[in-house]
Every structure is written in structure tokens, then in C-alpha cells.
Amino acid sequence: MSELPAGVERRTVAGEARLTTAGEPVYGEPTVDDRRVWDAGRSKLGAMLELGMDTRLAGGEKLLYLGAASGTTVSHVADFAGPTYAVEFAPRPVRDLVDVAESRPNLFPLLADARRPREYAGVVESGLDCIVQDVATRGQAEVANRNAQFLADDGLLLAAIKARSEDVVAEPQAVFEDVRATLSGSYEILETERLEPYHDDHLGVVARKR
């Protein structure tokens, strides 16, 4: 099993080892020893860590999070990462995201479309260590490619690809093949794994910028 980033620790809750981070609670998640339980069933990055994928995260990274929604996952990420830019394009969840960001000085919420990096390239800095992506929309691989410009050489992509967002009827396996091919334009794929049982028909991807 790969190492967890500094700041993410397992704690035993009701007899089970769970991921936790330290920070202000945000969505009514349970806490243990003043740490927030990070539920892999509600978070694709949590599932990637729980499944032992080698995310290569050490803690303290500068990162860009695409598809932040109301901030469930990115709140945990900001607990262990450095400057964290969170992009979400639906206004309603952004209202919650703003509340999450308020108590986290290193979390910068942006209401913007991840397909249009121009909209936030004047705010998000270059040379980032990592992009975390969970946009669940058609063209997920293309979104990752367009945002590669924010990464440092060797920067990492941690993406969750939802098969049904690309094609509702195709076999997930076929969709994932296409995604892999498109991604290889900008990234070298290091590891992929299905996120079952936490998330059905999702592929976790660890890749490095070419």
C-alpha cells in the first residue's frame, strides 16, 4: 500500500480504519481526535487513496482542483496541501464552496468553466505540482489536456473519469480506452484503477505531464 500524504492519517472509527485530515468540519462529517473523517464513498480522490493508488502526493503541494462542487473533497485537500485553487462552474454549489474556503486561507474558490482555462489563467499560477480533476462532464480527457499548462514539468494529474459522462450507453471499458488515448497527448499515464466499490464505473488515473 502506498504512503499517504503528510496530513492524511488513518484513524480507527467504529472498528474501521478511516482516512482523516485536520481542519474545520464542513459538511457534518464525523470527527475523531479533532480530525475530520474523509469518506471515500463521497470522494473520488479519497477512494484513490483508500484503494492504495500511488498518488505521489506528499502534502504541501500547490494544486488546481477542477470540479470542486460544494467542496467536500477539496476541503480535505486544502487541509493537507499548499495553495489550492478550486474551480467549479455551477453557481449553486459555489455558494457552499465559498463557506468552505472562508475558514481555509489556502483555498481559493473560482466560479469558472474548466474547459476555458483562459477565464482563470490570470489568477491561477503556473508551475503547479498537481491537478486533481473530478468534473464528470463530457470531454473529461480534453479538460485535463487544456489545463496541463498550469503544471510544472513533471507535474501530476490525479483524475477521476466517469464513464457515463462520456457516453451513457457505451461499455465503460471502451470509454476508458478512449480517455487514455486522448490523455496521452499531454500526459504519461502512470497508473489507472477502477474506483469500485466506492464509485461505480469510474476510473482513477495518475499521470505525469509530458
Binding site: 453557481p91 449553486r92 482555462p117 482563470y120 490570470g122 503556473s126 508551475g127 457515463r164 450507453v169
Partner: protein, 309 residues
């Protein structure tokens, strides 16, 4: 100082919070740069820590304001955008057809491409005379119109979850907008019985049926949903009916409560699993009274479920 022209903080007085938030919302740049270092260099902040503090204050304010402004989005704007998207698509395709006829004969272009792809090839052509100039210019309009269609689609995808979060989650943003458009608004969609939602977009077929000319339609635009399209033909009627029932509930929650409800999505998934499981054990199929494609009420049950929430 040209390096920082694109920076959100360019020309912003660090003490002016409103200006900083506005600058974040308007920022656009061709490429990212090391903004923290440039901010310190240009004197916007004394050190990177101070820059990040200012960035935090400005992004939080900007996101809050932007979300609030977009929250005023209403269903009528969504309907206009969706219809404009359809118009742009139809018109672009019409122009592309015209071009295939015209430029296909006029210009010596690689004829492998068709439709709007052909128009794009023509648009890139260097015109040699006044006639070609017209054809090439027309091609450019068709291509621009396709881009406009894409932008309108992106707008619809972004706004539909705001106008109707549950409906957009269940149907996908474009189909959700289409249902709202066909009903004439979210409120009137919320007031429609499930059986009507099931055949929205199939009005012609429905009238033919009522006049006794045709079988009753099993579904309207909801056919494009994977739960219907991806179900084997024999069970599509049941799938369409189950989906329409839940969509009707989703529209009511969106109109009356306006917030996301997980239970309705869970319910639909379970219904669909049951229908598909039935297809798998098809050989010993027994009629359970739920088969067949008739448009049936089902809204009584739907109402009961809304009350349950």
C-alpha cells in the same frame, strides 16, 4: 511590466477589496504565470504570504458575488438559450448543405469532409475571385455559427443545474432544459402529470393517436435518456414511464423546494435496476401488470412520493 498585464492584480489597489473582487471576475489571460512572484516584484504585495492573503480575500468575495448574480438566472433565459442553440445548429447545417452544393462544384477542395467539416475546409480556402470570396465568406459564417452553438450549449450546461438542480442531475443539463422549454417554464413543467412529461416532444404522434390514426407514443424527448434508449425495446415503455415519473417529481422539488434531494435519484436507480434485471431473467417472463407502453397516470403515486420527502 508587460509580463503582469494579464495578472488579475494589474492596476488593482491592494486596499480596494471591491476592485480586487471585480478584477478576479474579469481576469482572462492567454497563459498562467508565476503570479505570486510577479505580484511581489510589481509591489502588489510585500511577500508571497501577503499575496496569498489578498488572493484569498479577493477570490472568496468574487466567487460569492458571481454565484449570487448567476443565482438570479431564470428558466426563461435558459429556454431562450436552448432554443437559440437549436436554431444555431439547424442554420449552420443548412448553410453547410448549401455550401456542399455550391463550393463543392466551385472550388477544388478535398471533398472527404462533409457538412460543417466541409464548411471549415472551405473557410480556410484562399478565394481567387469574387464568386469564391462569397462562398468562402459564407463558409466562415457557418463555422462561426457552429462555434456559437457550442458556446450556447456550454451556457445551457452551466445554467440548467442552477435553474433545476434535480432535473438537471437526473436528465442531464441539456435534456432538462429541453423539457423545461417544451413545457414553457419550470413552473408549468412542475405542474404537469408524469404521463405528459413522458410524451413531451412527441405532440404530433400523440395527436395522431388521439385522432385514432396511430399507436400511442411511448416517449417524447426523454427517449434520448440512457435509461430509455439503453433499455431493450420491449421494456422501453416501462422505463420511459418510470423515468417520467421521477422527472416529474424532480421538477416539482426544483420548483417548490429548489434544493438537491438524494432520495429521488436513488429511487430512480432502483427502479431502473428492477426493470433491467427483469430483462435479464426474460426467458421466464411473467406479466406483472407493469409492462407495455401505454401512457398511464402514475402521477398519483408520484404525488404521494413528493409528500413523503
Amino acid at each position: 511590466m508587460t509580463e503582469t498585464d494579464d495578472a488579475w492584480f494589474a492596476g488593482v489597489d491592494p486596499g480596494d477589496a471591491a476592485a480586487a473582487a471585480a478584477a478576479i471576475r474579469e481576469a482572462a489571460a492567454d497563459e498562467p504565470r508565476d503570479w505570486p512572484a510577479l505580484a511581489v516584484e510589481s509591489g502588489f504585495a510585500a511577500e508571497e504570504a501577503e499575496y496569498y492573503d489578498r488572493l484569498h480575500a479577493a477570490t472568496v468575495d468574487a466567487a460569492r458575488e458571481a454565484a449570487r448574480a448567476a443565482g438570479r438566472a431564470d428558466d426563461q433565459q435558459l429556454i431562450h438559450a436552448l432554443r437559440a442553440m437549436d436554431d444555431a445548429e439547424r442554420t449552420a447545417n443548412e448553410l453547410a448543405e448549401r455550401l456542399e452544393e455550391w463550393a463543392g462544384a466551385l472550388l477544388d477542395v478535398d471533398a472527404d469532409a462533409t457538412g460543417l467539416d466541409f464548411a471549415a475546409v472551405v473557410a480556410a480556402h484562399e478565394p481567387a475571385d469574387a464568386t469564391e470570396e462569397r462562398a468562402v465568406s459564407l463558409a466562415q459564417r457557418a463555422v462561426d455559427l457552429r462555434d456559437e452553438r457550442d458556446d450556447l450549449r456550454a451556457f445551457v450546461e452551466r445554467r440548467a443545474p442552477e435553474v433545476a438542480p434535480n432535473l438537471a442531475e437526473m436528465a442531464g443539463p441539456v435534456l432538462a432544459a429541453r423539457l423545461i422549454s417544451l413545457a414553457g417554464g419550470l413552473e408549468s413543467l412542475a405542474k404537469k402529470p408524469a404521463g405528459t412529461v413522458q410524451v413531451l416532444g412527441a405532440e404530433d404522434a400523440l395527436f395522431a393517436h388521439l385522432r385514432g390514426h396511430a399507436p400511442s407514443p411511448k416517449h417524447g424527448v426523454i427517449f434520448t435518456h440512457e435509461f430509455v434508449r439503453g433499455t431493450r425495446p420491449d421494456d422501453r415503455g416501462s422505463a420511459a414511464r418510470a423515468l417520467a415519473g421521477k422527472l416529474a417529481i424532480a421538477a416539482r422539488i426544483d420548483h417548490y423546494a429548489g434544493e438537491r434531494r438524494a432520495s429521488v435519484h436513488e429511487d430512480l436507480r432502483e427502479r431502473m435496476e428492477t426493470i433491467r434485471a427483469r430483462a435479464e431473467s426474460e426467458s421466464d417472463e411473467t406479466t406483472d401488470g407493469d409492462d407495455g407502453g401505454e401512457v398511464a397516470g402514475g402521477d398519483g403515486a408520484a404525488d404521494a412520493e413528493v409528500d413523503d420527502e
